[in-house]
């Protein structure tokens, strides 16, 4: 125990930043105890004294006499403190006033007790718990070429494959492994049997068990390439993306809620998960996979997938309940989450450790941290409408254009070929004398609304308002009428199915309230209008005879006016007004009608209406289509008599015919409807991360959270109150080789693009630059992640830490060889999967020999395979799959309902309501990047197999699936489905005995057999063999 404690202490001291210690390697236990005591004294007593009396002039605002107290190193450099002979320290002499200058300068002498404390502190070693001030610009950690020689940062050079002859070797991967095994004289295992292989490969690639028929086909496949073909088939399965997306979701700390206090949902965050599934299935090159997640909105903004990928940036937690004092630190915390996750996910580096001080182990100065953070300064979460299936939408647009053209052609053809005959035939029966001529519809010039309402015009002169009505509005209608004398005005208020309660009003109850009605008469040029006096208002129905009567619409009170509730809703109504003085003009008239709807009850405006005029006063208000204009009657009568009339008149008559009586009208309407409907374009609301888009709304908006600050500052000790300077976008110096500077990775935005700054696109360029940038490390890290998921342990055992304190690779050459191969073949991950899975190392058995344990107990040399427990998702999916209950629907919104039957990757990840069945099996909490899940074995897991309704339901489901078979057959089939093999003879016998006993126990139940079988299938699901893949 003792030496362990010491090691732990070293670690602690390193954490405290005391690397200035002169001879750490030789320090004794006593020294450490003294340093600890000194540090404690510093914290409790000395620090406040120095701060209050000394620091201002010595390392704070200024540094006088070259005596700098801001850190232990600078203090020791000054020579005022003598650790060899503490009592002789100059500092003690000046504060004791034994030597000039007496300190503190021009202030009271320190108390005796204070002086003693300082003396004691120096005698114990003058330890600091932390420097007073971190120097960010001066003595920062320098990144040198020596740092770049660390294995993870080295350039990715071509590696020679060891040339060995060995019958076990199948691929080049095996050659690397075989050489290392040979060094300890360890022979690898032979290939596993085919049943084991197909189960292993199917779970690894799809997270599901192979189906019995697939097992049989593979086992009996005579093709020597059968295994390779199996891998190819599995890589093409859509389930592949579902399996591997979930691995990446761990790394990306993906969740669909904000976390913290209220943990509000992010209902459109799931598109990031869907991006991952598609990206893996489509074998999106990994360099693009990386780039899109950081800058898809800049690099390929017309591509929905690239936009969806940016969900990565905004997947972290955010405290939506904030007070003003927390705003700025909350944004820096958010940037920290982004920087830390970016570093860990793509680079396997804990950049986040450099937020408050230079990284303790890795060559990452604090300045680098803030330079990386500055790339994200204006990047925020937004929700935008995206066409997720642009091909389908393109198809729809083309189809619509085709259909529209067809309808137009049809109408044109009718007009050219049939209209004339149709008109003549109709004209033959036309009786000019009988046409209704009392009310003539006005020809509307335009309708405007003060609230911007939009209208649709019908051929019968009716005007329909579209959409939801405004609270208040004034509608102005300009119209012409072809009659010489105008003596009365009719306003029809008409019902329509699109209106609330069928209208005629736009209020929620279908009512309206016409506050004022002004009719003005214009000269025909439309420049001068004169208001006309209206009188004798009457209507088909009015709500009352007082403030809601039709008379109140011309009473100069803008509130009171015609309304039609209490019997008039959903029906056509009409109001008639006589002109106090009729107007006359042989050339016709131009009118402007102003209708004011100011009622305090919201949206009491008119939804559908029509205006017409008559030449006599005293007409009864009736609803009815306006008659044929007189000019039309005259023209038709003349045509009927075969008289020659002028072209304009003739045109007017035909137009009237087309608008009212011709079949052409329906044909033209169909064209208009098609045009108006437009093509079916499906868009979805997607959570993205970008700049310059409206921010995603959340609770903190209530107090005015700004979402981002225009500049990111370098902070001292990570404290927003200690801003040092504006941070300029940049990268990690240790991953910039060949004399390159940040500007060399600059990606320019396209001409005219200024919504985003392209700093993230530039960063992605650096990240994927293998030669001079971070691409070498990016490739190593992803190769290791794949290896880890295929073998249970990475070549680097710490997948999220490729830094100094992480593990070193067991086979550095192999790692580099695979990384180089990945890069040289277009960053295609499926190729890498195939490369790994076709190796003899992957295909060998789990047999464990004594020499395995003796020479390589941790199996670092891969001389055997180690059985691996499935993750929670694969366990649940396998149970559903075997029971025949798995719903294979892909993509879309997830759910919190743990009895859902889709694959587990479609669970909604809500941070405060993580799915209990998943948590049992070490699901990540989605707060930070997780590179490798723990694999714990606990009693609550066992309880799930024993008692959970999901497992029980699946067991019953399997029983139902096998109900037509005999007991023996059902046992056999269940083994094939669940374990991919037939039962052995003893297994089969035990199972039969068990069924018999259970059936007796369930005896009184009509379903005894079904329940007994379910009891047995539950045991199958609980077997080690079911969840441990060999």
């Amino acid at each position: 125990m003792k030496h362990i404690n010491l090691i732990a202490l070293f670690a602690v001291i390193l954490l405290h930043g005391m690397r200035a210690g002169p001879s750490l390697a030789q320090t004794s236990a006593d020294h450490i105890a003294r340093m600890k005591a000194s540090q404690a004294l510093f914290k409790s007593q000395v620090k406040p004294i120095l701060k209050a009396h000394c620091l201002n002039c010595h390392g704070g605002k200024s540094t006088k006499g070259d005596f700098d107290l801001s850190s232990r190193a600078t203090m020791l450099d000054s020579g005022f403190v003598d650790l060899e002979d503490p009592k002789d320290s100059q500092i003690l002499a000046v504060i004791r006033h034994e030597t000039e200058p007496h300190m503190p300068m021009k202030s009271a002498k320190l108390s005796q007790k204070q002086i003693e404390e300082i003396g004691k502190w120096i005698a114990l070693g003058a330890a600091y718990d932390a420097p007073f001030r971190q120097k960010l610009n001066g003595s920062v950690r320098q990144v040198t070429d020596t740092d770049r020689e660390f294995w993870a940062f080295r350039s990715l050079d071509k590696v020679e494959v060891p040339q060995i002859e060995d019958p076990w070797v199948r691929t080049d991967i095996d050659r690397f492994l075989r050489v290392a095994q040979d060094e300890v004289d360890l022979a690898p295992n032979p290939e596993a049997d085919r049943r084991t292989l197909i189960r292993r490969a199917t779970f690894d690639l799809l997270g599901l068990p192979p189906k019995p028929e697939e097992v049989v086909a593979f086992v009996n496949d005579p093709d020597p390439q059968a295994y390779e073909r199996l891998i190819d088939r599995l890589l093409e399965s859509p389930h592949f993306g579902e399996r591997w997306a979930r691995h990446w979701m761990d790394v990306a700390r993906f969740a669909e809620s904000h976390g913290y206090e209220q943990d509000y949902d992010r209902p459109n965050a799931y598109h990031y998960r869907d991006f991952l599934i598609r990206a893996f299935n489509d074998d999106l090159p990994y360099d693009r996979f990386v780039s899109w997640q950081l800058a898809g909105d800049e690099l390929d903004h017309d591509n929905a997938l690239a936009m969806m990928a940016t969900g990565f940036i905004g997947a972290g937690v955010f405290p939506t309940q904030l007070t003003e004092v927390e705003f700025e630190s909350a944004r820096y915390d958010e940037l920290d989450d982004i920087v830390a996750t970016t570093g860990v996910a793509f680079l396997g580096l804990s950049i986040g450790c450099a937020r408050c001080h230079d990284h303790k182990y890795d060559p990452i100065p604090t300045g680098d941290y803030y330079r990386v953070a500055a790339n994200f300064t204006k990047t925020i979460r937004s929700e935008i409408q995206l066409e997720l299936d642009p091909a389908k939408n393109r198809e729809n647009r083309a189809a619509h254009a085709r259909e529209l053209a067809m309808l137009e052609a049809k109408a044109k053809r009718f007009e050219a070929e049939n209209l004339d005959a149709e008109f003549r035939q109709w004209l033959a029966d036309f009786e000019p004398d009988k046409s209704d001529t009392i009310w003539q519809s006005a020809t509307v010039v335009n309708v405007t609304s003060s609230a911007g309402s939009k209208y649709e015009y019908a051929d019968d002169g009716a005007i329909l308002a579209l959409g939801k009505g405004p609270d208040k509005e004034t509608i102005t209608i300009r119209m012409r009428v072809e009659m010489s004398r105008v003596a009365a005005l009719r306003l029809e208020a008409l019902r329509h199915d699109s209106l609330p309660k069928g209208g005629p009003g736009r209020a929620d109850n279908g009512n309206f309230a016409l506050g004022e009605l002004h009719l003005s008469h214009g000269d025909l040029s439309g420049e001068k209008f004169e208001r006309l006096i209206l009188k004798n208002a009457r209507a088909t129905h009015q709500q009352n005879s007082d403030a809601l009567s039709v008379a109140a619409s011309i009473d100069n009170d803008p509130i009171s006016g015609w309304a039609v509730d209490l019997g008039g809703i959903g029906k056509d109504q009409a109001a008639v007004f006589d002109l106090a003085v009729p107007v006359e003009n042989a050339k016709g008239h131009l009118f402007s009608l102003k209708m004011r709807f100011d009622h305090p009850n919201a949206r009491h405006s008119l939804g559908r209406f029509r205006i017409s005029f008559a030449d006599t006063v005293g007409q009864t208000p009736i609803v009815g289509q306006g008659g044929m204009p007189r000019s039309v009657v005259k023209a038709l009568a003349a045509l009927k008599r075969d008289e020659v009339i002028d072209r304009g008149q003739r045109q007017q008559a035909i137009e009237w015919f087309v608008g009212h009586k011709s079949k052409l009208r329906a044909l033209r309407q169909a064209v208009e409807k098609k045009r108006g409907d437009g093509p079916t374009i499906k868009k979805s609301l997607v959570q993205v991360s970008s700049e310059g888009l409206p921010h995603m709304k959340h609770h903190a908006d209530g107090r005015g959270y700004p979402h981002f600050y225009p500049e990111t500052y370098v902070l001292s000790r990570g404290d927003v109150h200690q801003k040092v300077e504006v941070a300029t976008p940049g990268y990690l110096q240790v991953l910039m080789r060949g004399g390159r500077a940040a500007d060399d990775w600059r990606v320019d935005s396209p001409d005219g693009w200024d919504r985003t700054g392209f700093s993230r696109a530039s960063m992605a360029n650096w990240l994927t630059d293998v030669e001079f940038g971070a691409g070498n490390l990016v490739a190593r890290v992803v190769v290791n992640r794949l290896w880890q998921h295929h073998f249970g342990q990475g070549l680097v055992a710490t997948p999220n830490d490729f830094g100094f304190s992480g593990e070193r690779p067991t086979h550095p050459d192999l790692l580099d060889w695979m990384a180089r191969d990945l890069v040289d073949h277009g960053w295609k991950l499926k190729r890498l999967h195939r490369l790994i899975m076709t190796s003899a190392a992957y295909r060998q058995s789990t047999v464990r020999r004594p020499d395995h344990d003796k020479r390589d107990s941790d199996n670092r040399l891969h001389a055997r395979r180690v059985p691996r427990r499935l993750e929670g998702e694969a366990i649940r999916d396998a149970i559903l799959s075997v029971s025949g209950q798995l719903d294979e629907t892909m993509y879309g919104k997830g759910t919190l309902n743990s009895s859902m039957r889709r694959r587990s990757v479609y669970f909604f990840v809500k941070r405060s309501k993580l799915i209990p069945e998943m948590m049992l099996f070490d699901w990540p909490e989605s707060l930070v990047s997780i590179g490798q899940r723990a694999t714990t074995t606990t009693a609550p897991q066992a309880l799930m197999f024993m008692n959970s309704s999901v497992v029980r339901a699946a067991a019953v489901g399997l029983a139902d699936r096998l109900q037509d078979r005999s007991d023996n057959e059902s046992i056999h089939a269940a083994y094939e489905w669940a374990l991919g093999r037939p039962p052995t003879e003893p297994e089969s016998r035990r199972a039969m005995q068990f069924l018999t006993t259970q059936m007796v126990a369930h005896g009184t139940s009509a379903q005894a057999q079904r329940l007994a079988r379910a009891d047995f299938f539950q045991v199958l699901f609980s077997l080690n063999e079911f969840i441990y893949v060999r």
Binding site: I4, E261, P319, D853, T937, S948, S949, T984, E987, N1024
Partner: protein
């Protein structure tokens, strides 16, 4: 791997499935293998008891979490000067005061004296608010801290700060660290149990993140006993199965599992076989542990069961005693639910609010202390009374004045488990606005809790993503003045 490790592994393998789980983990721990990125072989028995760093004073913890932020000046931090300052502006006291100190910047009132009377209690003569008539009996068991302060004036970050040592999400809470450090003494109950408000007033802000294991393996997260329905998931057998039927299932399962061990003797598989037996025991042990009917009537009465104002907390406190008695390591009981009138968050009517919540907890918590003592368990059980922050000495304006959040000062007490009785540590300023003397960071409080449990807060680390993390981050000092000297410890 050195020779010794190899030998140990071989021994484990040879000893077959009969090996003691405790031995395994303890052995691994003694080799210092537990601070690796993964749990190593401990993953197989993650909750097996672990040795302490030094002799422990306390073996277990019951934390009464005073949820919402109790007002220290109305409970344990008697401030007679507040009467003198009554109705004056706090800016006369501290010109730097800003309206954004609390949560509601538009309701800042004047300084307000406590609506409660205080009187000296116990031999130590501690001045105690009238709302704690029963707890006042026990002040000689309590070590008070009056100089606590937090880093946030907002519930959930402050709750995370108090529970996890960081005002941000994603870090393991004290209970998780403690169970990671010490394991469990029960092989049939969860190691870390959390009880929340059963009166439908909600979960504390931040919900389950308050008992989260953060980056520690999920097995160390708190088990939340659901206030309604079955308290633990999957504890009840399907109605389609009898106890015998399930036993036969397990017997078959174990028999079939063992067949495969013969050619594949991985320790993970052995551990899993054991986990089913443990689960089988849990099915009866857990309901038994929380069934209060077995308790004699006078004990039930002592806690206040049957009294409408405190019945719910009484049941939780008695349950907590039964759980720790059976080896549960860490119990946390949240008094109150969400914000405002649903918890101690007395923004309005501080008098009514605190009278109510004190009434809900006073008798049950006092009974817990008395009961633990009469059973000789108090010496080994650390009881903590603490919330996420304090409240301001000024009034929050409203029909009935309340008090707003105060991150600058709070009070807490520790009792039993090596905490000194009848002492007070640290002081707030004259009016209780800010912690003034011996200011106590939450890291210090955490360091002290771990210390009493025999854990050095600087040694209890977990390496994750390239960094060795601690509950106390890079700070924390044990508050020695409130810790009993080693001579009286239980060792």
């Amino acid at each position: 791997m050195d020779e010794k490790t190899l030998d140990r592994r071989q021994w484990l393998r040879q000893s077959g499935c009969g090996f003691g789980t405790i031995g395994l983990a303890a052995l691994l721990h003694s080799e210092g293998l537990l601070s690796a990125d993964q749990l190593g072989d401990r993953a197989l028995q993650p909750l097996a008891p672990q040795p302490t760093h030094f002799p422990a004073r306390a073996k277990r913890v019951i934390w009464i979490f005073i949820n919402g932020g109790p007002s220290h000046v109305d409970t344990w931090d008697y401030k007679p000067a507040l009467s003198k300052w009554n109705e004056k502006s706090i800016r006369e006291f501290d010109p730097d005061f800003t309206n954004t100190t609390g949560f509601f910047k538009n309701a800042v009132g004047n300084l307000m004296q406590s609506p409660f009377k205080f009187k000296p209690r116990g031999e130590c003569g501690k001045m105690v608010s009238e709302i704690f008539p029963n707890l006042g009996e026990h002040v000689d068991k309590m070590a008070f801290i009056h100089s606590g302060f937090s880093e946030s004036n907002n519930h959930s970050p402050a709750l995370f700060m108090m529970n996890c040592g960081m005002a941000r999400m994603g870090f393991p809470c004290v209970g998780s660290w403690v169970t990671y450090g010490l394991g469990s003494e029960s092989d049939s109950l969860p190691a870390f149990v959390v009880m929340s408000d059963p009166k439908g007033r909600g979960l504390p802000k931040g919900h389950a993140a308050n008992w989260s294991a953060g980056f520690l393996p999920g097995v160390f997260q708190g088990t939340h006993l659901k206030p309604t329905g079955s308290p633990i998931d999957n504890l009840e057998r399907s109605s389609e199965l009898s106890a015998d039927g399930q036993r036969r299932q397990l017997d078959l399962l174990q028999a079939l599992n063992r067949v495969h061990l013969e050619d594949n003797s991985e320790s993970a598989l052995l551990a899993r076989i054991e986990s089913f037996e443990l689960a089988y025991r849990m099915q009866s042990a857990a309901p038994e542990a929380i069934a209060l009917d077995d308790e004699p009537e006078h004990i039930q009465r002592l806690y206040g069961i049957g009294r409408p104002e405190c019945d719910h907390v009484a049941r939780q406190c008695l349950m907590a005693r039964r759980l720790v008695e059976r080896g549960v390591r860490f119990v946390q009981i949240y008094s109150g639910g969400m914000e405002n009138q649903r918890s101690w968050d007395g923004h309005q009517d501080i008098a009514g609010n605190h009278r109510q919540f004190a009434g809900e907890t006073d008798q049950p918590v006092a009974a817990l202390l008395a009961d633990l003592q009469q059973r000789g368990m108090l010496d080994e059980t650390l009881v903590i009374w603490c919330g996420e922050f304090g409240r301001l000495p000024i009034a929050q304006k409203g029909a009935k004045p309340g008090r707003d959040h105060n991150p600058h000062c709070f009070s807490a007490w520790l009792a039993g488990g090596g905490a000194k009785g009848g002492v007070s540590y640290g002081e707030s300023d004259e009016i209780g606005y800010k912690a003034a003397v011996d200011r106590t960071h939450i890291n210090d409080l955490h360091a002290t809790i771990l210390h009493l449990l025999g854990l050095d807060h600087e040694q209890l680390t977990y390496k994750y993503n390239g960094r060795r993390f601690r509950l106390t981050d890079v700070a924390g000092q044990v508050i020695q003045p409130i810790v009993t000297s080693a001579a009286t410890s239980i060792g």
